[in-house]
Amino acid sequence: MKKLIANGATTVDSMQKAPGRNWTIMEKLFLGLTPQQYIGQAMRNPLNWIFGIIFAIGIPIILGRFVFGLSWVTHSSNDYAWGLFLGFGLFGMVPLSSSGFQLGTACEVFGRHDLEPIERLGLLNGLLGYFFAVVFLMCDLGQPWRLPYPMVVSFGPAAVLFLVAWHVSTYLSVQIAEVSTSFFEWIGFPAGKRAIKRITLGLTVSGIILSTLHQGALGALFTYAPGKVHPLWYSSSFQWLHFFVSSLPGGLCMVITVSTIASLTMSWRFDKRFKDNLDRITISLAKGASMGLATYLTIKLISIAHDNKWSYFATGWGQWYLVEMMIGVIIPMALFAYAIRNKHMTIIRFSAFLVVIGIFLNRLNTALITFNWKLPYREIPHWREFVISLTVYCIYIVVYRFILYRLPIFYQWRTQEELAPAYVTEREQSLRRAEAIAP
């Protein structure tokens, strides 16, 4: 793509291709390239070939899961009811998607307009993370076609999962509304954008409520299994707080990680505003994340002290717990502290990545690795379970990239008014030229 731009290809960043001529939808989809150029750049990207191989193996297996049943793809058993799809997919992706409500809150509620260039990335990251968490859920449910049942057919309002189901679905629609502004800009439907703009604050505040509750609720799900989750990862009073608080740095660090990957692979899509502000914003996000991590570490320690679980540190589980805390919390905190002070961007981005890994590790530990710690055997997921998880995650990456390439996330859509002066002057120029030729 960089080469194409260097060779004079234009990118879509406004309604108009040239004065007086709008981009067609097809041209927008092809990023303003010709189909040959587009396919050419896609083929040159080695990552696409890797995705191709993964999809060639993974998608038939996903289809097979719905034909041959769960036992064909998972080792989920009567003792280990949940496997990788939930442990990695649902419990891992939801906390990393808290960026949507956090950046929404910072920009729209707290009036932190300095964070605005990255707000849309935060919102999109939230939407996609939730959406694919639901995709993972669909792979895992025994009868996924019954997913709307808790909304319409049969209610179990005392269950934590009931709350999760309602909140995730309402929050998904909130996020679709929040992200739709960029879609409306891109498609050229300003009325829709204005309508959403008008209800932004309502959407944002609803987002905070829904996020707080269901991030916590995912943790509270494990309070149903006090004897099964290892005591170090379990706390009746703090479980929901652990999940909620850890999702805060998780979401922020996920945004840092995504923006880092994007700046390495698709910086052509950045506009000047994003490029110039990225480092400054990354530092702000990292500051927020460190505060989140500090809070998280504190309540983790308090919960251990609260139930007096120190003796578990002497066991193998305790060492594993310390490994998790080192990777996901303590090392990143130390690195953040050093790097923010010295504005060392590489270290900040690396520690953000560590936090993301730490979140995945924590959720996997809670849901799978230390789950059923009293049972003599551990569940090792089926290889097809790994393949499906990887495939769905790659689909997530491809969709993410597809949207980032097109919608005004990293750049600002240039509106008619902004374009107009240039257009007028050009027309005037051509008129003048015509006048000059005429006599």
Binding site: V67, F68, G69, L70, T74, S76, N78, D79, A81, W82, V109, F110, G111, H113, L141, G142, Q143, P144, R146, Y149, P150, V153, S154, F155, G156, P157, A158, A159, V160, F162, L163, V164, W166, T170, S173, A177, A195, R198, L201, G202, L203, T204, V205, I208, I209, L210, L213, A217, G219, A220, L221, T223, Y224, P226, G227, K228, S236, Q239, W240, K374
Partner: protein, 305 residues
């Protein structure tokens, strides 16, 4: 319009969640089972491991033919658990110095406050007044939270079914027997009278009598009388309950008590957050001109409250 719809949805779900929380907190600690709930007392000292209860259950519940016939004792080499193939299994627990190793029959214990029921988001489970915990496969989505929640690890799931996988567990022969006042199939067939069917309250008295009459034969505890809020199946044992595979660390609180702290917090968040955050918004954007129309929104938002 969109926002109104959304807020409406939010209110409904919030109200539902808070209602749920409230009704649960009344129930916790006070509900000790229906007065006429039936139960089964298992005297593990009488069990000889003949597996006829397994066979009777298989026949009554029309379960598939087992891989190993019911008169084969080799199954005791490994510990088994209930599954989609068998709603009840008997395990043998070795003791070094004993010629008569203890056996223990296991199946769904039919809790007074079942964790499966309280964790189910489509209300697929019902605790009937006869004491059985029954399951409605027609609404089950297959999230398997009940399996995670069950402190006894009893529900099985038919993972092999692609189009209609369901939870498979003992329902105390509710449809075919209990509803009509008859004892479950396993109880009726037991040749050793190790299983006694009756009112749960009577069974507790009976168990206490047995312990009092022959204190050498039993440890002084009825497993299931108080565990996780009490269960319809009650157990007597000669050796300690850990030795015959029971989890003795579960405590007497029903599982839902652990979830209460979260459920109790839900209405608070629903109430305080909107006021708090729109308040902060007003303060944060006060006297600032951002060149956008945020102020109008906050006024609207305030008018709503």
């Amino acid at each position: 319009m969109k926002r109104r719809d959304f807020l409406k949805g939010c209110l409904i779900s919030g109200a539902a969640a808070s209602l749920g929380a409230a009704s649960k907190s009344w129930a916790v600690g006070s509900f000790e089972g229906y007065p006429d709930a039936m139960g089964v007392l298992v005297d593990t000292t009488r069990c000889i491991g003949c597996r006829s209860c397994e066979a009777a259950c298989n026949k009554e519940q029309k379960l598939p033919e087992p891989d190993v016939p019911f008169d084969d004792q080799s199954v005791f080499e490994h510990k088994r658990r209930p599954s989609e193939m068998a709603y009840t299994v008997v395990n043998r627990y070795e003791e070094a110095d004993s010629k008569n190793p203890p056996f223990r029959k296991m199946q769904c214990n039919h809790c007074n406050e079942p964790a499966c029921l309280t964790s189910c988001f489509v209300n697929a489970y019902t605790k009937t007044k006869e004491g059985a915990v029954i399951y409605n496969g027609k609404v089950c989505v297959g999230c398997r939270t009940c399996m995670v929640a069950c402190p006894f690890n009893m529900p099985g799931y038919s993972y092999s079914s692609a189009f209609n996988p369901l939870i498979k567990k003992c329902i105390l022969c509710y449809d075919t027997r209990l509803k009509f006042g008859k004892p479950p199939a396993c109880v009726e067939i037991c040749p050793q009278e190790a299983l006694t069917f009756g009112l749960r309250t009577d069974l507790i008295k009976l168990a206490n009598e047995r312990i009092r009459e022959t204190p050498d034969r039993y440890v002084d505890h009825i497993y299931g009388e108080k565990e996780v809020g009490g269960t319809s199946w009650l157990y007597l044992s000669k050796s300690s309950f850990e030795q015959i595979g029971f989890d003795t660390t579960l405590g007497n609180e029903p599982i839902i008590s652990n979830v209460k702290e979260f459920l109790g917090m839900v209405p608070m968040v629903l109430t305080i957050w909107p006021a708090l955050f729109s308040g902060i918004h007003l303060l944060a954007t006060r006297n600032k001109d951002h060149g956008d129309d945020h102020h109008n929104h906050s006024e609207q938002e305030d008018g709503k409250k």
